[in-house]
């Protein structure tokens, strides 16, 4: 039994993550990896799916792709702000440009990560976002370092 990855201390309630990405294979594999690290992960394949999921049950953090068919990541994030204010959003995208990243951060995303990001690195950012006390924009790993 080699524990090659970090596990989250289960505590009373495990952190709840909503993972939104239009690419199913990536989304579901990442969900499994994160669950294996002790997170409670739900997934959605689109912006609309994300709204349904978060209305059905709250999440502690949302990991969001930028480029999706239908509603794109930035629009989805704005809508999420209204539905679930205070839930930090981490942008995880393969289409990162400086402009897109800056826009996302200005729109109060917690962080902006460019794919491919090792799942363990993502886990750290997720935990940091939750630790930042669910205060959007206050716990940016980049800005406050």
């Amino acid at each position: 039994m080699s524990e090659r990855h970090r596990r989250v201390d289960p505590g009373p309630t495990p952190p709840r993550v909503l993972l939104v990405d239009d690419e199913a294979l990536f989304r579901e594999t990442l969900a499994k990896v994160l669950r294996a690290r002790g997170l409670e992960v739900r997934t959605a394949g689109s912006g609309a799916g994300a709204f349904d999921a978060i209305e059905a049950e709250p999440a502690d953090v949302v990991v969001l792709d930028l480029k999706m068919p239908g509603l794109d990541g930035l629009a989805t994030m704005h809508r999420l702000r209204e539905i679930a204010p205070g839930v930090p959003v981490i942008i995880l995208t393969g289409h990162g440009t400086v402009d897109a990243g800056l826009t996302a951060l200005d729109d109060l995303a917690f962080d902006f990560l460019l794919k491919p990001v090792p799942p363990d690195r993502l886990l750290e950012v997720i935990l940091a976002a939750i630790a930042a006390g669910r205060t959007p924009g206050s716990g940016r790993t980049k800005g406050d370092r």
């Binding site: 080699s2 090659r4 594999t29 480029k67 393969g94 440009t97 491919p116």
Partner: protein, 560 residues
């Protein structure tokens, strides 16, 4: 791009020379010709006026001279009695009137019967009778008489001034002979130029004074216009083969014609000199205009050439930049498309390792699976390096330019890279000449030179005498940095594609082929250029030229 190449420039040069000559020489020639004509007419009148006024003054002085002689003789005649003069006073009188100048040749007293009563002078004339001579008749009739020049008893040309003295019932005559040579000199005192002379002819046209060129005393002068006239008359006469200006005026008494003449060519010689000087000056003007035309045309053509070259360079750069920009856009899209599957692969291999870590399988298999999945992870990292390189190339992370001392940047990165070079057995040396500050992003400069130096180190890595030099210098206001290695060199066929994205000669997995493309793009953004020269077997030199900070440039965002 160019205006028809070297031939075009030559034609342009020739056209310019002709045009400049036309606008400068034509007015010059017009002015010169106008001056010539004006000068010619002016000079003619100047010559004539000069002769006229000279002769007018001269006539007055000769008249005054003759009048003074006459007055002198008359005064003497009335101061003495015949007895006194005959008694020996005539010798004293002669001495007195001679004074220092030999104005008179001799003096004598003639009785009313024409007998020569007394004579003082060089000739033996005592006892001669003048009753039948012209002058005797004239002086008896008029009282005072100045004769023409005649030979007389002496056998030499002379003229006399005679005054009749009434004494008692009779009369006697005091007669003085004027020295012809003295008088001739006096008349000829007014001379013009080289050929000018002044002389007197009587009403018959016989020479009354000596001349230099015209003729001998008492010979006919042949002067055609002997009718007395008032004032000054100037005319041109041909004598023999030569043209002369004759200026004439009549003396009041005796009625002699005072003539001043000068060869026309001599009279015009100042004019000719002026014309020659004018022509020389015009010629100098033409030559000057010619030189000016050539100089101006050459500098104009050079300026046009330079402008053409700059335009060509600019166009070439625009084309190159356009190409780079298009490639950059494509690269960005490509990187994004690859990033997504890469993320999936990376997540999958993580999941595989997660599972392999806990699955109930043989330990050998577990190790094998973990190892393989790990290698997948490494390959993902490699791909990630490529896509990030592409994105860097495409996006050129915006950093603000500030005043930078390039030498400091080079020195700093040399220190860092020297460690790596030492590991590869490569000597890394710097040779930095003083440089002006430049306006650039330090990050960009570092990126450019780290890339170039790393490439150079790679080129010589493992060679026994591997050496990389970073040399900076100021070359005609441009900053130049050479990164020189003594590696294997780049084959000529590869030189042209070396700055294209994805071009690499390194083994698969060791180079992305983006380094030099990024360098190229960054240097262009800095307003500079990057060139490569290489000799196979000897080494390669990358030369980066960069502009210095413009004078008085405000560094932007100098403080982070």
């Amino acid at each position: 791009m160019s205006a028809g190449g070297a031939n075009g420039y030559r034609t342009m040069f020739r056209t310019l020379v002709v045009r400049i000559l036309a606008v400068s020489v034509l007015p010059l020639l017009v002015i010169a010709s106008a001056n010539f004509v004006l000068f010619l007419s002016l000079n003619r009148s100047v010559v004539i006026d000069g002769h006229s006024s000279l002769l007018r003054y001269h006539r007055e002085s000769i008249e005054a001279f003759l009048a003074s002689l006459t007055a002198e003789v008359a005064t003497l005649a009335h101061q003495y009695t015949l007895a006194e003069l005959e008694g020996g006073d005539l010798e004293r009188v002669f001495e007195v009137i001679q004074r220092e100048a030999s104005v008179y040749t001799d003096v004598g007293i003639i009785g009313s019967d024409g007998e020569h009563l007394k004579y003082v002078g060089p000739y033996n004339l005592a006892g001669r009778n003048y009753r039948s001579t012209e002058w005797f008749a004239q002086v008896v009739e008029k009282g005072v008489y100045v004769s023409d020049v005649f030979m007389g008893f002496r056998g030499v040309p002379h003229f006399v001034i005679a005054v009749k003295r009434q004494e008692g019932d009779g009369f006697w005559i005091l007669r003085a002979t004027v020295n012809t040579d003295y008088f001739s000199k006096l008349v000829d005192a007014a001379r013009l130029g080289r050929t000018g002379e002044t002389f007197i002819v009587n009403r018959q046209g016989l020479y009354q004074t000596r001349t230099h060129f015209a003729g001998n005393l008492l010979e006919p002068s042949g002067y055609p216009d002997l009718e007395p006239h008032d004032g000054i008359r100037v005319r041109r006469l041909e004598v023999g083969s030569k043209g002369y200006f004759y200026t004439t005026t009549w003396l009041a008494a005796p009625r002699w014609l005072l003539i001043s003449r000068q060869e026309v060519s001599d009279a015009y010689s100042p004019l000719r000199r002026a014309i020659v000087v004018g022509i020389l000056m015009s010629a100098a003007g033409v030559v000057g205009a010619g030189i000016l035309a050539v100089v101006v045309a050459r500098s104009q053509v050079r300026r046009i050439k330079r402008a053409d070259r700059e335009k060509e360079a600019l166009t070439a750069r625009l084309v190159a930049t356009g190409k780079t920009a298009a490639v950059g856009e494509m690269s960005a899209g490509l990187a994004h498309e690859i990033n997504n599957p890469l993320a999936t692969i990376d997540t999958l291999q993580t999941w595989i390792r997660d599972l392999a870590g806990t699955a109930p399988i043989a330990e050998d298999d577990r190790a094998e699976i973990l190892d393989s999945a790990g290698k997948i992870g490494e390959q993902v990292e490699r791909c990630k390096a490529i896509t990030q390189g592409l994105l860097k190339f495409a996006r050129r992370v915006e950093t603000r330019p500030a005043e930078v001392q390039l030498n400091e940047v080079l020195r700093e990165l040399a220190t860092i890279l020297r460690a790596r070079a030492r590991v590869e057995g490569v000597e890394l040396v710097t040779e930095l000449a003083p440089l002006p500050a430049m306006l650039a992003s330090t990050t960009h400069l570092q990126q450019v030179f780290v890339n170039l130096v790393n490439n150079a180190v790679d080129a010589v890595a493992g060679k026994p005498d591997g050496r990389v030099e970073i040399r900076s210098r100021l070359d005609g206001g441009t900053i130049r940095v050479d990164v020189v290695d003594n590696g294997a060199g780049i084959p000529p066929e590869n030189l042209s594609s070396i700055f294209l994205p994805f071009f690499t000669t390194k083994p698969v997995g060791q180079g992305t082929g983006l380094g030099l493309a990024i360098c190229h793009g960054l240097v262009q953004e800095l307003g500079g250029a990057i060139e490569v020269s290489s000799t196979v077997g000897e080494g390669t030199t990358f030369t980066v030229t960069l502009p210095p900070a413009p004078a008085g440039a405000q560094p932007q965002g100098g403080t982070p």
